[in-house]
Symmetry: D3
Subunit: 187 residues, 6 copies
């Protein structure tokens, strides 16, 4: 389950494996999760990931971590994890969070979370966190996969490369193409 | 794995099970998938589902079907299945289809599908089908879950009940709130 | 999850993987499922498979498709899928279908299926489809594995290479060896 | 994971669960696997099963045992386990064993096993054991499921209740209906 | 996946499920993880668990959290999680951590972790954390199960109810029974 | 799923796979499980393993076997299997067996097993077997993994390489360091 530089190394799940005798403690280690991420961006938030790409020993283990930083009014915008449920706890500040369940209810569940509160975002559902406080907020979250993936709705729908045609998106969202174009221009 | 009317029946995965001796062939049967769905709606498309809700014998079986009808210019708008990969084949007409991979590439893969063509939409990824022909189109698709779920991006993000606040969505999509309000009004 | 020609490529489940940046839409595509299979054989049926061997992007996805063609009186003879449940729908014609549950009941469940009917054959159970109509029949079926396997009972028991000894089969089926020999001669 | 007599007991996988405080060692216990099964039957073999039906504590545990007794010339006839791989070891005597792989190879793998030999029959494949010695033989086998199921090919194909029509079986095995009828009469 | 008070409620994995229409945000919520646990005990450590027992919405989700507090010289003594891998990050202070791999290597991997460091303890392996600093330490850890279980080696081996006989433990640890008795007296 | 000598062979789960056409019956075979293991050691017991390391065809199959020999008063000392449940049956002699459930109950379940008795040790729990008879005892056990792993508590805690510091173990077991040192000296 451990990273090799040899391109012909044994691999599991597409990630290379060390021979057991070559494994070292460092293969299970990562450092720096106490460092605030840079939130000077449009969304005012930043996600630091600690998954199998950072810790080779996580391969096949079915769990990973992220740290999320939020400036005041910072948003971790609506997104999904295609292969994981998320459980999040607030380390600092306060967050307004929510998720939306599947069709046809599309019911929104929300909660204001303060320090020490925990909330669960079930696998594959659209969810978001918003810093509704006046200070920075910090959350730590765990995901039920070593490689959970993340799909930010805005980026996937309006910012894909190449773009989804504005004809299609205008129909999907039932608005004029110029509105779609305006949104696409942001991504 | 079979439906009971007794509320205290044995259940697996939250679905009731019949005693093996009470199982009948009808527990594995559904009829009507040859019937065109009604596409006289804003999207010009219709999905008929055949999963564990329709066929109790599918419980724990990890597979289900859908039929999708498309009027000319009909769209099965961008959506995800939180618990399933989809494999689709075109029975009639022609479709322009696509999916977008996870952050940060957000790469769009598209293909024009004609009768007999098959395409795969991997689990949890945003995907769509658009009838780019002048006649009705029909597709049949299989999903790798008896209860795959579906999240239509527009409905989940702009049409949830209650609504996600327009402050949050304006920030997420980097546009004015009045644009968000206009989109929300469509759902 | 995508096919490579390099024999030293990264592999998952024994199938090679492309580097994400080299993936193309064609890795998720197959064409020709609208083409009738050739049913001029002893059984009067033909199965066209669309699984991980045809679509490399299906690897790890847990689903695949088949098209089955039946001449009048054509039979998809008793068989099992060792790694998948099957859900089948009739596109044209009419089929008499059935499956047998495990020991010791060995109960047979049957149904006549017409166009648009759907039926489920649970994982590993012996099942068959017979065209009981006067025209060709066509079915499309999905399986809960990208590599479901198929074991045709006749071929496996009476047509293996080398043969199972007729002493053993005579005992298993409680008939004279010359009857076994006659059946084996057909395979 | 433990048996309750209350019909409204909590259940997992359709089997009832005891409250943890009511569990006793007996819930994980079975006795009598040293007793020879009665092999005075047509096949000259007998299978004693120890799975979740006998040991409630096996529920969700993914493993079970069987003891198989064979008279001289006794046969455990061709069968499959729809939900399990089997690993067998010979305790007494000698066995000629085999399994057949999936279409289209249908290759037969065989081996003569003596005391202390071990052989693996992969999930869902047709396999058999035949006592090729002059004394009784005994095997112990483990299966990778607490509820593996067993499908004896002869019973499922020629002895189902009701019978599969002899028209269908005559076509499947490419022989006259009277041969099918003769085989069906044995089951 | 949500808690019901009705004893006859639908249950999954032995945990009751609410009907989807009765689910509320509180079913995915827990509060208090910012509160230091009481470390005035022999080990000088305390574990606060947030799993399916605290958050009913975690059922089937495959992930949970714990907070661990350590007094100076506090120890989270050698233990295993029978159903989960653990990924831990240090929120405050410094920890000396380690795990031991399976027989026959029994190799010990250790690391000193400071604030922001992350370490992985693979499923089922014996591991520990020791506060090697002069201040309190705090860690947050995620586990790859909604119900991971914990087996503290000392409690299980020397503190079970009833006790494992000192004959057996004296043999297991190759020391006199009076030493075993002395250890057992501590639990 | 079959062993190759070519270091660049296709691999699944880190084990090499043969091309299907190169597979032979020997890839599913092991011999010698009738041979008594050597119990002239401190514990008076011996475990012979038959897993994926001995039978390459077991890869991905989720099951394996062990034979355990016990001299009179022989002990298979407290241990866990991190990735498997065990089901054991007594072939000869008599065993006193037990397992301890998770915190905080740490309840010990025990049973005396005679020839033909079967007992289950759930995944990851500490368990042991002791020959309480005057003759040799022999057990055969199956495990729900092709690679179950084994962690002997004494070896992992007191015999790791390098050693866990006696400060830590003295605290964990609440005894003087000289007692820990004495135990460590045995391993």
């Amino acid at each position: 389950m451990i990273l090799f530089t040899d391109p012909y190394a044994v691999r599991v799940n597409g990630f290379p494996c060390k021979d057991a005798k070559d494994v070292v403690a460092g293969d299970f280690f990562f450092s720096g999760l106490h460092m605030a991420g840079n939130t000077t961006n449009k969304q005012g938030s930043n996600v630091t990931t600690v998954n199998v790409a950072q810790i080779p020993g996580l391969n096949t283990m079915g769990v990973s971590l992220v740290r999320i930083d939020y400036a005041p009014n910072g948003l971790n915008p609506p997104h999904t994890h295609p292969r994981a449920t998320e459980i999040l706890t607030v380390l600092e500040g306060s967050l307004y969070v929510g998720f939306v369940i599947s069709n046809h209810e599309n019911k929104l569940f929300t909660k204001v979370l303060n320090k020490g509160d925990v909330f669960v975002f079930p696998q594959g559902l659209v969810h978001f966190q918003f810093n509704n406080g006046t200070n920075n907020a910090v959350a730590l979250a765990a995901l039920s996969s070593q490689n959970p993936g993340v799909i930010t709705v805005g980026n996937a729908v309006f910012g894909s490369k190449p773009s989804i045609s504005d004809d299609i998106l205008a129909k999907a969202f039932q608005v004029d193409k110029n509105i779609i174009d305006r949104i696409q221009a942001q991504f």
